[in-house]
Point group: C4
Chain length 287, copies 4
């Protein structure tokens, strides 16, 4: 959650501190109000979508929504001005989320049915971790992110294989079952293949011929077992990451060996006495 650029001194610096940092009282207040506004605007859109529930309040909701959007727009412009490299901020992950958070209301002027996409601003809630000083959670989030990033190539290879399989098997079922049995086109058959291999199984399209059911059975077993692969990939990474964390504990000063347990007194590698256990070494592995 880094923000880009070092702001200019003066009013920009103070604005930057309030908007981007959460260390000062003003900064924290700003973030907390932001979260409240995000939640209220989402609640308004959700309630409005339920038939009959929001009818009486429609004018109020509309007014509130315009107020929120104006606030978010001003905030976005403020961010752009008090950062040294506005374009880098605008293209960053959080910059894009902040923009998507205020666009729907404007788009809804042209296409009213897009109004509900205001919910996308819930992604801005990722800042909640920083506001409430939930450092331990940020650490876990980063550790999970690291494990997923480390396994991204294996995951992409796996995804490529799955897409090829559903295209081939979907086409086979299209030929075997045919439009008469619900498999009306190859895209539809591929959609069915995905619902089957991911074991979702809506039941809106089902094989009716014996050969079709046989192929479907094999696909179900294949999909069921194939789930093992991404699970194995991710688990192996998380296990390795966790092993690293466990090993970060106490190290021997003589030979630098890591991984001593909390109650160890002598280095397991060279036999030298270990410095006494202290709370600091425990806080290095809080979970």
């Amino acid at each position: 959650m880094e923000y880009l650029g070092k702001p200019e001194a003066g009013w920009r610096l103070r604005l930057h501190r309030v908007i981007f940092e959460a260390d000062t009282h003003a900064g924290r207040l700003f973030d907390q109000w932001l979260i409240v506004i995000i939640l209220v605007s989402i609640a308004a859109v959700v309630i409005d979508s339920v038939n009959g529930l929001g009818d009486d309040y429609r004018t109020t909701f509309a007014a509130m929504e315009w107020l929120f959007t104006v606030i978010f727009t001003l905030e976005y412009l403020a961010r752009l001005t008090c950062v040294r490299h506005p374009l880098r901020y605008a293209r960053s992950f959080f910059g894009v989320i902040d923009l998507l958070a205020l666009l729907p209301t404007y788009v809804a002027l042209i296409a009213p049915e897009m109004h509900a996409l205001i919910d996308v601003r819930v992604l801005r809630l990722l800042r909640v971790f920083r506001v409430f000083k939930l450092t331990a959670y940020v650490t876990e989030y980063q550790s999970l992110g690291r494990a997923l990033a480390a396994s991204r190539r294996k995951i992409l290879v796996f995804l490529f294989a799955v897409l090829m399989i559903v295209l081939v098997l979907g086409t086979v079922m299209y030929v075997v079952e045919g439009p008469a049995n619900g498999f009306s086109s190859i895209p539809t058959s591929v959609y069915w293949a995905i619902t089957t291999m991911t074991t979702v199984g809506y039941g809106d399209i089902i094989p009716k011929t014996d050969l079709g059911r046989l192929i479907a059975s094999m696909m179900m077993l294949l999909g069921w077992g194939t789930l093992a692969v991404p699970t194995g990939i991710v688990t192996a990474e998380i296990s390795a990451d966790r092993f690293l964390k466990a090993a970060k504990n106490r190290s021997c000063e003589e030979c630098q060996t890591d991984g001593h347990q909390m109650n160890a007194n002598f280095c397991m590698h060279c036999g030298s006495p270990l410095p006494p256990y202290s709370k600091q070494s425990l806080e290095n592995t809080d979970s």
Copy 2:
């Protein structure tokens, strides 16, 4: 399964021993009868719910249920009196379960349809492990609990991410498919998104447009693969826990300290050299 507080001497102490401890003959008898009463009262409620099956016995069931509730109420009051800090017991996990176990019958006087919630008292069966001295099972239960507790932050981060995803994608499907196709409101669409990402797939609400089916397909693959994450988290913790258990077999011959890691050469407690690691020590890990 600890109960709180040291009771006063005398009759309270004797009562405490019977109700809370399972070492004496009276204590074990008490617990065994409690389990029988719990199972019988649950069976009565279950049978009663099946149309036609319980009609003839309704009066009997009602009488039995009041008898049981009186017994449980007396037992609960007994627990409160023979514990030093009644409020701590009342607020503990088991205290809350014990209270929920007897409330439904009283609530049913006001709201008869809540009668079935008597089944909640099945949670009192957690005591069955203690009664039958199933110590090995208690150890496994605690080990599982420890693994889950150690991974709780990662699980919360993951859950937060899933909730944001189903809200955003549910809203997108609401906009794409619309009420005409079954996606009648944002809450309904989020409910559909959860049934899809968890691969349950009831089929009561299904996407009908091509774009909707495309987004749904991506959600299914995402949900299918995302299952890998909590599995990876929990597996890594259970593996680490099991590795620790395996390591408990290396003991120092000088000072008898257990728990040395597989790669240790010197005793962590007294510094003496350890006998080398061999597979025999690993195979000694009984489960």
Copy 3:
């Protein structure tokens, strides 16, 4: 796949060798014909169940089935006579399967609709591994079995917890949704709870109220994540088992340390030279 008891000398011994052992030519021939008969009888039952397909052959099927049953009965009696402790064989896992394999035909005399249970004799195919000298597969089967056995306590604790959860949540949904919405009794609601938590999701019973859908959503997320637990348990055991296998390689003669890689020349623990790598040590870890 051990058979019990040491047979008497003479004709019983020869019979024992043919039926129970697979080392002699007669023994292997016997087992191969047994497998053929099992497969043919199962195929007959399966074809017979498909409407219209088996009509012309019904008399043939019936005759064949009686022939097979007589053969199996004679074989079962032969096993009983040439084993020293017939009762132990009859009560063993394979003894029970052998008995269940021939009972359905007799039961079908009284209750014709049970005829199809002849398929149970497919369990006798477990002997196929032994017949075709698939030793490596037997090793893998035993290794899997060992991992599952080692984790049985954790699995039982987990199962007990799941059963309590589906009873409580099923009852809650029965109270919330009620018979009008398909939740006609507590057993039915528990059945629905199981279909939902295991993510099967038939869709024959579905929640219709908002509160019901909210509870159902939580159950889906809970069930989806709970799958992580047995997976973690089993994976941890299989990983540990696999680590053992990897470590069974070359050991140092001086210090008995195991786990040296194929290309190692010196002991990693004490530095002594290792005996040269040979094919025998590799065959100890064939996969």
Copy 4:
């Protein structure tokens, strides 16, 4: 992705270099055009299957398809001629895929409905990794393949067990529920058993009797938990593979040999003492 045989010198060698190798400019251009043609021909078939979308273009599609098929046929014949052992190529994995890629158009002359099977040629896209020099992905693909191959026996044992279970339980449900409730034959019941144990749960066939629902519930829990086994198998192999990769970082300073285990103290190659294990060597494991 090796091709077999060393070609003759001269024109065959040059042709071999273009078709099979990707090092020369001509070779890369050839492969890139091949990929474009594959994607276009698949898109044509997919669009053609959607009712109404491809009608105007049918003649164009047909012409394009014949052009592509001629190109693929010429390419296939070229491969056969410039390889030393044509039969080995024709029987290899990629040889079979290349043949299946061009057969459907010819088969469609006799059986027009098989036209869609042209999609099978998407499997030729496996070459895309080689063309774009995605070496890291090839490594990951091979590592995944290695893990799956190492666990193939356990997977086969597991599959055999699952097939026996669905046959026995499917037959039991056929007897319990019967054709009146949708279980019209044993194959149909086995198909239902597979949809249930793999948790797909279409809902086209559902148990209606109480005993049937009870058995179905047990099957769901069994299938849900059984998913743990292949996941455990595959995860254990991937973890072991990754652990090996992590261990590649401990090198001996004397003789530079890599690959020492984390608990090693002496170089396995030359016997010199190793620098102690520290977390830095583990963190150097790039993915």
